[in-house]
Structure formats: C-alpha cells, structure tokens
C-alpha cells in the first residue's frame, strides 16, 4: 500500500518523445486507470513505474523514496502483463510461488501463501497443471495470483483483460475490483477501453501523445471534460461536436453534446434532421441522423423506439449539458 509520485517524467526512444513530461500523484490505496488511444504511451508510463525502462529525465518516487535508479526487482511492485507472461515450464504452484522463492522465503511459508492465493482465485484444483493446460481466464488468475502472494507495494496491470472474450472480461473486471476492495492495495491499471476505465477506476488519467490530458474521477471526466480530446474519448457513443455558426451562438469555437443529452421531438431551440440509420439495442436506440444545421449527429434514446430511415426529426439540446470549447480545444467555463 503505497503512494507513487511521478515528477516531470520524460521518456524518449531515440529521438521520438514518447512520454513528454508527466507529473502525477497516484494515491495510496486507490484504483488509478491510465486510459488513452493505442500508442499514446500508457504501457511505457507503466513500465517506467515498474523500472522496466529507464527514464530519460524526471523522477519516480514510491512512498516518498526516490526509486528512479532502482531496478524492477528492488521496487517491490507486482505487474500483470497483457500476455500474462506465465513461466511455461513451471506448474501453477511454482508460478505463483516464484516471487516468494526469489525473496528466499521458507518453503512451508511459500506453500501456505500459494494455497491461500489459490483459494482466493479458485485455482486450488489446478495447482499442479502447467500454464499451457489452462484456459485464458485461468491463466489470467494465475498471473494475478503471482502478483498478490508477495504483498507488493502496488499492483500494475497492463491491459490484462484484452485477450479474454467479452463475457469473461466482465467477470474478471468484477473480480479485480473485488480484489482491490479486499486488499485495499494501490492499483494502477492500463487500458485503451474507456468503458473499462469508467467502470473500474476511482481516478482516471487520460493520456494523449505522451501527455496527461486530464485527471479525475469517472464522473468528473464525463461531466466536465477539460479538453475536446477527453470529451471525445470518454463516453459511448461518442460526444457530438459542432462548430461554425451554431457554436458561435453559444460563444464557443466548438460545442459538444452527448447523444444522451439530445431530446427528440423538442421544438424549442430546435434543430431538424433526417434519420439515416438506427441501431436497436433493446434498452436504448442509437439514431444516426443528418441535420442541415448540425451535420451528422448521433442521438441516444431510451427504450426501443420506432425510427425508420428517412423520417424527419426535431432535435433539442439540454442547455446545461452543452460543453463549450475554444479554438485550442480547451473547455470554456
């Protein structure tokens, strides 16, 4: 259980700046998620914390202690890799016990801890199998088991669920959150999936091109995105962006309105449109429409509503839900 601080962290690969000055305070016991599009530097940032890469400049502090020059083995962090990175030649028991063995703990203690972790993760029946004989979900659990046995200062996860199918992903998501509650440990979790970020995080760090765009709770990011990038990245379906004369009416270069904040059939402040296509999800209906004033626009309506292509629509914005941005893409308040 520890606090991790990053101070002016930079990382270049050759002359490509991948992390361009990151200052961040990762709170003790929190569940922090790094989210951003693929290639924005999330893994690199996590690996800098882990000690698997050298910093080009800046500092990493764990519990106030400067660990910038320490190797991964000395930082007492645990990491769960996207590929799980299990040792193929060792049984599940030895995989989970490996960090304890490296820490030279006595055999009986290792055995006890491995048993306990296996029970927590429902792996007891598989202790003598090799990773090759396990399903994806079980491998994932072994990787987590290997991380929890040594009671690390913090857990680092690099897209741990991206190799699982959709149903299993939801289940493992819950298990990891439960684990976080029961251990009360600091967890840093990397994902490119904003749904995962929104559901799991106490705090989300949105990264873009090696810089932090915004840090905040899921709802803060949803309600008050500080930049166009964050506004577009968080929320699904994506926020609608409108510029030109309509935006000027709001005194902004660009305005954003989420699909769920557009009302159908409202006549005041109204815009018009024609339905192009509708997606019926049962609980919701996503309507993609073409509007002469707004251009292409997506509307999210609750329930399963009638919406055949070509039908004319009247659209209205919830005034308090309109986000305004200046020409630089920064939110106006």
């Amino acid at each position: 259980m520890s606090r991790i601080e990053l101070k002016a962290v930079r990382k270049d690969f050759g002359n490509l700046g991948v992390i361009n000055g990151v200052d961040l305070d990762i709170l003790d016991g929190g569940f922090t998620v790094f989210v951003g599009p693929s290639g924005c530097g999330k893994s690199t940032l996590l690996r800098l914390i882990a000690g698997l890469e050298d910093l080009t400049s800046g500092q990493v502090l764990i519990d106030g202690r400067d660990v910038t020059e320490l190797g991964p083995a000395q930082r007492e962090l645990a990491m769960v890799f996207q590929s799980y990175a299990l040792y193929p030649h060792m049984s599940v028991r030895n995989n989970i016990g490996f960090p304890l063995k490296m820490a030279k703990q006595p055999e009986d203690m290792i055995e006890a801890k491995v048993r306990k972790a296996a029970e927590t993760l429902n792996l007891t029946a598989y202790l003598d199998r090799r990773p090759g004989q396990l399903s994806g979900g079980q491998r994932q659990r072994v990787a987590i088991g290997r991380a929890i046995v040594r009671e690390p200062k913090a857990f680092l996860f690099d897209e741990p669920l991206s190799n699982l199918d959709a149903a299993l992903r939801v289940q493992m998501r819950l298990e990891i959150m439960q684990l976080h509650k029961s251990l009360g440990a600091t967890m840093v979790y990397v994902t490119h999936d904003q749904v995962e970020a929104m559901t799991m995080a106490d705090r989300i760090v949105v990264l873009n091109q090696g810089r932090i765009e915004q840090v905040g709770s899921p709802l803060e990011l949803y309600d008050h995105p500080k930049t166009l990038f964050v506004a577009g990245f968080i929320g699904s379906p994506k926020m609608n962006f409108i510029s030109g004369s309509v935006a000027a009416r709001y005194g902004a270069a660009t305005i954003g309105i989420r699909p769920e904040h557009i009302q159908l059939g409202a006549s005041d402040g109204g815009f018009t449109g024609t339905i192009r296509i509708a997606e019926h999800l049962g609980s919701d209906t996503f309507i993609h429409a073409e509007s002469p004033e707004l251009g292409s626009i997506t509307v999210r309506a609750t329930g399963n509503i009638e919406a055949s292509p070509g039908t004319a629509l009247a659209l209205g914005f919830e005034a308090s839900r309109v986000h305004r941005f200046d020409a630089q893409g920064v939110a106006l308040k």
């Binding site: 698997l52 190797g71 083995a73 990491m79 990175a85 040792y87 193929p88 490296m102 820490a103 290997r146």
Partner: protein, 275 residues
C-alpha cells in the same frame, strides 16, 4: 489438403515414395551390408547378402588404423568445438534477442557473412601459423578453428530460438525479484533448453563431417574420422569390405544423431529465412 485421398492413390504414392527413398538410401545400405561380407563376397556382384556374415572387418579396421583413436578425436573436436561455441554464443544470442540495439541486425548479418568466406581465403595464413607454432595435429588449436568456423551458425540458431521466447516472461521474472543470474538460469534456460539442445546436435553433426580444415591441419594424433576415411582413398588389394566397415563406423553415430535432429536442420541452415 483436407480432402480424403483414395486408397488406390495412396497405395501408388506409397510405392513410388518407398522406391525413391530406398534408392536414395541405397549407397548407405549397400555400404553397411558390405561391411559384414568377406572381401571375396564384397566384389561378387549380384550378391545382396553375404554367404557368411562376418564381423572381422571391424576388428581389422580397428587394428589397422586404430579406429577408436580417430573416433575419440572426432568426439573431442565435434563436441568440444560445439560446447565452446555455445559458451560464446549463448550470451551473444541472449543479448541480441532480448536487448537489441540499432546495430543488432547489422551485427547478425555480418556474423553470417563470415560464414560465407571461402576457406581457401584463410587457408595459407592459418596453415603457416599452425606450422610455425607446431600446432598441426594438436587438438586444441584445431578445435579452436572448428569453433570459429561454426560460431556464426550457433549464434544464429540460438538467436532464432530465443526470439520465440516472449520478452514479457523475462520482464515478469524481473518484477518478481529475479536478478540477472536467476533470470538466466531459472527462467530463460529451461525455456531455451530444447533450442539449445537442437543447436548443439546440429553443430555436432556439421563439425563431425567437416572435411576441409581437418584434412589440412591434422594428420594422426588429433585427426578425426574424416581423415581416417581419407586414408582409405588409395586401394590396396581387396579392401572394400574393410572400407565399408570403416565407413559404417565413421557414419553410424552421426547418422543416428542426424535422424533425431532433422527437424531443426532446416531452421539452422537457412538462418531463419525459411520458416
């Protein structure tokens, strides 16, 4: 193809394939059979099998040319040079596979190009150096030459094997608290063992059959089986059964090793250019 083949077709293919297989293998089979014949039988032609099987050829060959000494030298040179090669190649391949730098590709290709240097380009200096230092027919210097000869191949084979081991796993071990030594011995080595073993096997075979430098640089004392056989190149009376016995003794160990490692051969010899 996943389609079912008809039994007739399969039968015909079986016949053709076996015929060709036996024809290809015939010189070897013929040699082995002849080694058990008497010298008189050996030159009697349609005679596939001998009238009286005999093991005496092997005894004569051992007595006449001291087979066991040559065999021992072959073992020393082939295994020794390969082991020495591994000592140099394992760290090099590990480094290039897991911590590549900008120059790694060039280094690898350059190493390969040294293998393509024709031996006659180096023959005279090496021969003169060996003569000056009285190294000719000495085990260690010859072993060192064979080691350098095969080093590029050993590095390449190991490199292609190491490349298949995910870096993640090594990094995981570092996160788990393993130092460099533990990473190498507890994680990398067990995973790389099959690759190291087949590299070892293939290079033993190549070194065993090396017949340029061994013919020039050895004579009696350190000479391997390639030289032993070469001493049968001038006929003396009826000697085919003995030649066959000597040949059988020279090739048997390596033929068997070769059968075990044939799958790895492709990879090793094409430097990964054919998967």
């Amino acid at each position: 193809m996943a389609r079912q083949t008809s039994p007739q077709r399969k039968l015909i293919v079986t016949l053709i394939a076996w015929t060709i297989g036996i024809l290809m293998f015939w010189p070897i089979l013929w040699t082995i059979l002849t080694s058990f014949k008497t010298e008189q039988d050996a030159v009697l032609m349609p005679q596939l099998f001998s009238t009286g099987w005999t093991f005496e050829n092997f005894g004569i060959v051992q007595e006449r040319s001291d087979y066991l000494r040559f065999a021992m030298n072959s073992i020393i040179l082939a295994f020794g040079s390969t082991l020495l090669g591994l000592v140099f190649a394992i760290p090099a391949a590990w480094s290039m596979a897991f911590s590549p730098s900008k120059r790694t590709k060039d280094t690898l290709l350059w190493m390969l190009s040294t293998k393509m240097m024709p031996p006659v380009g180096a023959l005279l200096p090496i021969y003169l150096i060996f003569k000056d230092y009285h190294w000719i027919d000495q085990h260690i210097p010859v072993l060192v030459i064979m080691f350098m000869l095969n080093l590029p191949l050993v590095i390449w084979m190991l490199f292609t094997y190491f490349k298949e081991i995910p870096v993640d796993i090594l990094e995981a071990s570092r996160m788990d608290g393993a130092g460099v030594w533990q990473e190498l011995t507890r994680v990398l080595a067990p995973m790389a063992l099959p690759g190291i073993a087949s590299t070892f096997l293939l290079n033993v075979i190549l070194a065993w059959n090396e017949a340029f430098w061994t013919l020039k640089l050895t004579d009696v004392h350190a000479a391997p089986l390639t030289v032993f056989i070469a001493s049968y190149s001038s006929p003396e009376g009826l000697f085919w059964a003995k030649l066959s016995a000597a040949s059988t003794m020279a090739i048997a160990p390596i033929l068997i090793l070769g059968w075990f490692s044939q799958k790895q051969l492709v990879r090793g010899l094409t430097f990964g250019a054919v998967k």
